[in-house]
Symmetry: C2
């Protein structure tokens, strides 16, 4: 056996280097050489863990998706009050601290590339669909009498719109303002529920 190295750990370090390069210089500067230098490796050594550059980028994107999924799963506690649970889940989805802001920016970079890269697009669309399903579930739990598909579209767009704004204009799209927007939206969903229920609508 060779030099004792945990390949999985190494891969994670490389992914962290990819993040730093993308945030600092952009996705198109995430070349094998630049990432290797950022990770403190040579390009040849990096290619031991990722045979090709597309593989490296796809792995990085997958890592982001998994991280978000893990955060959501950690909140899930389905017995909690639906309103609180929704607020907590949406809070995990939005870039409320520096680490998630980084994650969000990297995600946006990948989204843009997914428009012209079929492999990345498949991953992004999968995440998009999952998030849409999650929004539908939240809406259904809060306002089952409403037009849940329509309200899921609205909530989904609100969340991703806030995320984009947080990436482009973080000085105005601050965590408190994002929380206020989400909170107001959830309040209206609740009102909608009450109103429809009271008038027997459906």
């Amino acid at each position: 056996m060779p030099k004792v190295v945990d390949p999985a750990r190494r891969r994670n370090e490389v992914v962290a280097a990819v993040w730093r390069v993308i945030r600092r210089d952009g996705l198109d500067r995430a070349s094998v050489r630049n990432v290797a230098r950022e990770a403190g490796l040579s390009a040849g050594s990096l290619r031991h863990y990722f045979a090709t550059q597309p593989e490296l980028l796809a792995f990085t994107l997958r890592t982001i998706i998994e991280r978000v999924e893990e955060r959501i799963a950690a909140v899930s506690a389905p017995t909690a009050d639906p309103r609180d649970r929704a607020a907590r889940i949406l809070d995990e989805l939005l870039p409320m601290d520096a680490e998630r802001a980084a994650e969000n920016n990297v995600w946006l970079a990948f989204t843009a590339r997914a428009l012209v890269d079929p492999d990345l697009r498949a991953l992004c669309e999968e995440a998009h669909t999952a998030l849409r399903a999650g929004c539908l579930a939240l809406v259904t739990s809060l306002a089952p009498e409403s037009d849940t598909e329509l309200e899921a579209d609205r909530l989904h767009a609100l969340v991703d719109g806030l995320a984009v704004h947080a990436a482009l204009h973080p000085q105005t799209t601050t965590p408190p303002r994002m929380r206020a927007a989400i909170s107001a939206h959830l309040d209206e969903l609740h009102d909608l529920h009450d109103h429809r229920a009271a008038t027997g609508g459906g």
Copy 2:
């Protein structure tokens, strides 16, 4: 004087070529040579109209912003019913046909690059701020008694979120569904206005 050529027209043709390259291959493939080939020119000739590549890209982004501004201005008719006017303006902002879908995808590509390019960032932030101001004006015209800043955040995020979804997942984020989401949102703004006015709120 030389070969009779309208430089402004040529620039517009080149910008159209940039759009096609970005949509087909992505912003990082919008090299001087690729754009020139797409425009049916040589790279040397292209550089007659755009001295550097950053200048070419900045001009392209500026063109997008101006196009949107012109469409908005064409709707403005401030005497119309506020609700109809808001719906029409928001309709112009969203990718409701193939041309605006192309524009939207190119815009998203530039937004992602703006995260790491100060020049493009300045342009994107300017557009972002203008759009935010427009949302605030619409909200104020529809629900002046509401928390207009908060509601402007929500409307702005909804619009940009829908645009991103239309770029990434156009098969589900269709024009009718976008219109329905906008319409529902405007309805709630109106309800909010009525409710606050009826209860003397502020």
